[in-house]
Amino acid sequence: MEEKESSGRYICVNCGYVYDPAQGDPLNAIAPGTSFDDLPAEWVCPMCYAPCSQFDPLD
């Protein structure tokens, strides 16, 4: 496997916002270190309000 350990980042397909677990999401009061899978069901993209289903794994 040439792939490096995944950074766990996800990208919003609607606007391109990247959720980086290392940063969390201050606009939704999500603490750094929260993995994408652990985001609450009601979480939406802080830029365009798209739901989790509109996110793709980034790397």
Partner: protein, 815 residues
């Protein structure tokens, strides 16, 4: 003596001790793409090798077919018959519908061949000639249950045709009953077509009757037809079980790929029962019909191996199925004309094309293929149906479910509605797409005129949701009660359930995308469609992201405007916009090239080999052909805020922009980012930007031409280019205001890491388009070709507007 076929080397009994006799099907220009390609290259040696390979894999007799449009069948077939006669130990089945070819081959073949085939399609002309030749040269004959009305469906029809052929072949032409192999033919039980639910039963009963009532005759069958439209693994099991049942009923010979047949003992009992339920249409009283149970059952079972996905198509039906799934249009016309010799156009549509589209829909639903590829499949469907239409009777398809589609009054957005049209019409439904800005009165009139079964309403705008809600009582009072499907960006299941459902008689259903629409129409056909329900308890309340501090700095200095009043800019180089295009949103969002279940490397490859080149071609066209013509109307105006209103002063006249305030903390409102009169007033920027109407016209043209894939691509490109222009112009305005000095061109694209904000009209911070009224009154964007609809929407569609706030705390939020 037992009936046999023979080559130069050996005789093979047609009734094997352990039936069935296996007939290899791969040396067939209609059924095997590889064989056809070799033939087209005149590579007879490799064609021969395909025949030899099958013998090695256990075929008792080898079928040989070289018919192909544009080829000299007589030359190809006689050449290969000579070569096979020398090299093959297995006897040959000469597969042709041309009597001259059959006669020429019988003359040169050194053993006892089997002729494939005769039928009564032409009323009995060719059959007499071929049977006489068979008599003269001592050949066996396969006879298909086809007459002037087409392929026989019921056991009675199948037997009736067999009896008629028997009388001609035996009584008139002097063949023995044991020279005849009757092929009852079978239709698929995998298409969901109601009239075919008993297809397997009819075929098995047909075999039984022929064996009983035409003593001495044999039967043969192309078994795999039974399972068109199903997944490869499920097909393999179903084909095997069906073959076993057919043999039990008296089947002597099967045209199959011997390597793909599973011994019954290796099929688990449970699998077998699911297959038998489907084949014999058993337990129909259950909630799900046997086909649905079959599909569910095999979907739940994990794929045991991948080798079947590489399976190459065998018959023309399978080839067409595969090409549709792959979105491959190459050689489509030839393939369809081959199929038309065997099936009626409507049967090709209902038994091959529709099941293939259904399969595509299932793959999309499972995230295994992406929207652009679905559209390519739909193009294959459309092209096939268009090619078949001239051969169809007017009444064909008259029973299809009819759906009316419209974008509601005041709304010009039609991509969503058109995607629904593409998906529905290419799944066999009759769609009346009556366009954009359609009033409720027109919907009622057209619904009556076309006597539709379902109405689909679409609209992007927040206002369109209100229009839908308000039209519900109108539809009810007009006496309509057919289901109404609602779709659009501003709709939610909650809104539909609470605000639309109560005011209409029939079901009102929220559809999140085109496939939800397809599902709803199917449910309507099954009488299981119900209105959208919404339960507060089960529903997830989404978060409202945003800055939570309410204290907005009131002392921030107001920058000086470079000028006051409006200006038009019409000489913008499109290349300036390229760095501002949101590539990720375009590729993944607008175009649907999402990563889905792909690995990172596979997705990168898709992007570099397919998506990026597509994008670059469009950029190239933009520059070479003037695809987009960016124009801007903008200006800076003195203003002050008063609660939620921004009051703008232009040439001594006041224009009020009333903005909404959030209903919960932190209660943000656009007006808060502007100073009040007491604070000394402020400066507001406004713009209307458009990329012109040409790209919209080209997009519409692609849709008209059924170029679905390119349609979606160009539409998405135009949307993101419009946004890129807005982003670019916002950057220009920040420079002019002296607040963008330290920016890199595109750093703020997604994260808004620049000072201030542009709030688009119609977007989350200001969903209502009524603010366009004051804006148009003083900015007068008509000068750059932009006008308003009665619903405050801008035309052309590729236009966007905004108010520009310079305040550093101004960021995106939603009311």
């Amino acid at each position: 003596m037992k009936p046999s076929a023979s080559s130069l080397y050996q005789a093979v009994e047609l009734q094997q001790e352990i039936p069935p006799l296996l007939i290899g099907e791969r040396a067939n220009s209609n059924g095997s793409k590889r064989f056809r390609e070799l033939l087209l290259e005149d590579d007879y040696q490799s064609c021969l090798k395909i025949a030899l390979d099958q013998e090695a894999k256990g075929a008792h007799v080898i079928d040989l077919c070289t018919a192909y449009a544009g080829r000299d069948e007589l030359k190809d077939l006689t050449t290969l018959v000579r070569m096979c006669a020398q090299s093959l130990k297995a006897p040959l089945m000469i597969d042709s519908t041309t009597p001259e070819c059959i006669e020429a081959c019988l003359k040169i073949y050194p053993g006892r061949a089997v002729i494939n085939s005769v039928n009564l399609e032409d009323g009995g002309v060719n059959i007499r000639r071929v049977c006489k030749a068979a008599k003269r040269y001592g050949a066996a004959v396969v006879a298909l249950a086809i007459d002037e009305k087409g392929m026989a469906m019921t056991a009675d029809e199948k037997f009736g045709i067999a009896k008629a052929i028997h009388d001609i072949a035996v009584d008139e032409c002097g063949l023995r009953p044991s020279d005849l192999l009757f092929d009852c033919l079978t239709f698929t039980v995998g298409s969901g077509d109601e009239s075919l639910r008993e297809a397997a039963i009819e075929t098995i009963n047909g075999i039984r009757r022929i064996k009983k009532e035409l003593p001495g005759c044999m039967t043969v069958l192309g078994v795999s037809n039974i399972s068109f439209g199903l997944t490869p693994r499920a097909r393999r099991v179903l084909n095997s079980v069906f073959l076993h049942e057919a043999v039990s009923a008296g089947l002597d010979a099967a045209i199959v790929d011997a390597a793909k047949i599973l011994p019954l003992a290796r099929i688990p009992e449970e699998d077998r029962e699911v297959c038998l339920d489907l084949l014999f249409n058993r337990d129909t009283a259950q909630e799900k019909n046997p086909l649905m149970r079959f599909i569910d059952y095999f979907t739940d079972k994990a794929e045991s191996s991948d080798d079947e996905s590489e399976e190459s198509a065998h018959t023309p039906e399978e080839q067409l199925f595969k090409q549709l799934v792959d979105g491959d249009k190459e050689g489509l016309e030839d393939l369809l004309s081959i199929l038309r010799e065997r099936l009626k156009p409507l049967a090709i549509i209902n038994q091959v094309l529709v099941p293939a589209m259904r399969h595509v829909g299932e793959l999309f639903g499972k995230g295994e293929i992406l929207l652009p590829f679905v559209l390519q499949s739909a193009e294959v469907m459309k092209e096939s149906v268009t090619a078949l239409e001239p051969f169809m009777e007017r009444t064909d398809g008259a029973s299809a479910t009819k759906v009316l589609l419209a974008t509601v009054q005041g709304d010009v957005h039609d991509i969503g509605k058109n995607l629904v049209d593409i998906i529905l019409s290419n799944n066999g439904y009759k769609v009346f797409n009556i366009g954009i800005k359609v009033t409720a009165e027109t919907v009622i009139e057209k619904a009556r005129e076309h006597d539709v079964d379902v109405i689909g309403l679409s609209g992007l705008l927040v206002k369109s949701a209100i229009v839908m809600q308000e039209s519900m009582p109108q539809y009810r009072e007009a006496g309509l009660d057919v289901p109404i499907l609602l779709g659009g960006a501003a709709l939610t299941p909650k809104f539909v359930a609470e605000s639309c459902v109560p005011d209409y008689t029939g079901p009102v259903v929220y559809c999140g995308d085109a496939f939800a629409g397809l599902k709803a129409v199917r449910e309507h056909e099954d009488s299981t469609l119900v209105s959208t329900v919404y339960s507060e308890r089960s529903a997830v309340q989404t978060m409202k992201p945003g800055v939570k501090d309410t204290a907005i700095d009131r002392t921030h200095p107001v920058p000086s405007a470079p000028f006051v009043g409006r200006r038009y800019v019409e000489d913008i180089d499109p290349e300036q916009l390229f760095p501002y295009v949101n590539i990720e949103a375009l590729f993944r969002g607008r175009w649907g090239y999402r990563r889905g279940k792909m690995g990172a490397a596979e997705y990168r490859e898709l992007i570099t080999t397919t998506v990026q080149p597509l994008y670059e071609r469009l950029l190239h066209r933009t520059l070479e052909e003037g695809l987009i013509q960016p124009k801007v109307a903008y200006g800076y105006f003195p203003c002050h805020a008063e609660d939620t209103t921004v009051r703008v002063e232009v040439d001594g006249v006041r224009y009020d922009f009333a903005f909404p305030r959030q209903a919960e903390p932190p209660y943000l409102c656009i007006a808060d980012y502007f100073k009040t009169e007491q604070e000394g007033g402020d400066i507001a920027g406004f713009f209307v930007v458009t990329i012109g109407d040409r790209i919209g016209r080209e997009t519409a043209q692609l849709y008209e031409q059924n170029a679905y894939h390119d349609y979606l691509m160009l539409h998405g490109f135009s949307v993101e280019m419009t946004d890129a222009l807005a982003e670019y112009w916002h950057a220009v305005m920040r420079q002019e205001l002296g607040i963008g000095a330290e920016e890199l061109p595109t750093q703020g694209l997604i994260s808004q890491s620049y000072q201030g904000s542009r709030y688009g009209f119609g977007y989350p911070a200001c969903p209502d388009l009524d603010v366009h009224q004051p804006l148009f009154a003083f900015l007068r964007p008509e000068a750059i070709g932009v006008s308003l609809t009665e619903n405050m929407q801008m035309v052309p569609e590729q236009t966007t507007s905004a108010i520009v706030a310079h305040h550093p705390q101004a960021k995106y939020f939603a009311v």
